[in-house]
Symmetry: C2
Subunit: 305 residues, 2 copies
Amino acid sequence: MQWIPRPCDELDNPRGILFLTNVIVDHLVVLAPGLLGASVARAARARGLARRITLWARRPEVRAALLDQPWCDAVADTAELAVRDADLVVLAAPVERIIELAARIAPHLPATALLTDVGSVKFELCRQVAAALPPGPVFIGAHPMAGGAHTGWEHASDDLFEKRVCFVTPAADAPAEAIDTVSAFWRGTGAEVVPAAPAEHDRIVAHISHLPQALATALAGFLATHPGDWRHLAGNGLRDTTRIAASDATMWIEIFQQNRTEVVRALDGCLAEIQALRDNLAAKDWEDVRARLVAGKTWRDGFKP
Amino acid sequence: MQWIPRPCDELDNPRGILFLTNVIVDHLVVLAPGLLGASVARAARARGLARRITLWARRPEVRAALLDQPWCDAVADTAELAVRDADLVVLAAPVERIIELAARIAPHLPATALLTDVGSVKFELCRQVAAALPPGPVFIGAHPMAGGAHTGWEHASDDLFEKRVCFVTPAADAPAEAIDTVSAFWRGTGAEVVPAAPAEHDRIVAHISHLPQALATALAGFLATHPGDWRHLAGNGLRDTTRIAASDATMWIEIFQQNRTEVVRALDGCLAEIQALRDNLAAKDWEDVRARLVAGKTWRDGFKP
């Protein structure tokens, strides 16, 4: 692992001091690359974050196709072989398969290896991956908030993470150097790194990602019980509000399973808010309804453009 | 009022038959033009839907400014004067002021005048406007589903209604010719006219427009009780789901007031759906949760692109 000096933005750094903000990984290994994992490999190649990139995928035909990509130096036949001399391993499998993948490669990792992942739920996962590892290798969980309408490595891009939030969620006892290195790697892909404890991460995404998904799904499911052509009469409001209802069901089952407690808690809070708006509307308490409309508007107006 | 033949789309009309689908109004009067009313005047001028366009606005400085517009032939000092020899009057005031405006101009309308409006709620409004009119003039309510981030006549455009749905909501006893003429006028602005009884219209928009607004407001209001920087960590899902929470509070109070019963009913149905999703999530009934995710996705995938 090599640290390279990189000048920070002039605004942050008026005197032009060089900070250690970037890292070059000697051997980067991405396991089970889909959209996110392959975009990590592409970003690493495009931005010079790794000297050597090894990939492993479960299906032989995917391995064959990956070998043809300019962002792939080698393909391993097994995950165990792939990680033998890895410096940084990215566990890019679907969230419920990351733990078993970590357990499988654990005996084959060099003692100095770092591991990170792309899973969208962190508390259980970080705990169990850490428990599966022998002394030596360190896992620093990550959750890049990036995606697209299409999944699969074929849709990966060099700049998927550019200016997107990437949570980095170290365990309380993680070594500072490992945290710094994994954070620097993610920052190198273009992401804005946000540190958070795993449990805090899960509470935040339950509110800002999983709750909106549940509401969009419920609204779409409710409207599905009404005439189908109503949706063609709607303006952009309904279109925007329900867009994520079209997300992949299998991915969301996994996220809901992993973050069930926090999602239920967020739903309870939001249900109380909807019920209060409904009750005050029914009671013609227009002062209360106006206050709710204004509070929502004030919050939404605070979004960055 | 003059009907002009216009060939229909080739797809609908393979034999090239001419249908009476367009109308020219001799004297169009738009009262209280804001974004929607001024866009009606602009569309009428740009598309040749009216020979003469007269406007009236409450504030003198607005009247002076309107007189300079190429889509305005005359400005009247009062609404009563404006409608004296009108063929078609567009009541473009905010929804809660349309009824009083109709009552005010009623004694001054020619017996042959037609009236329409742009109000987003229809049942009460259509009933009361019809009741305010003397025998002769006919009111055919309309609700063009168009708008923008900015209100006010300054932001009007020639093509605001292009390909947007415009509900036309005649009373049960409205003469067919009046319905046809008002429908043809709205179609002439570029809108896709959808006929609906006033009560049916209110039930539809309660579901496809007012319910999404209430949910976005409640979600934004709920998240406003959490740390403010969470919103900067969110992806596009939260951004889309809450976009309409930033809508104008005064406009929405009026809509909720006018359509309270239907909005409360839609909220009750949607609350039951959200509660069921929450309960099955809490109970780990993953088969049920998956079915809900799939139902929502199927419905959303059915949107036109």
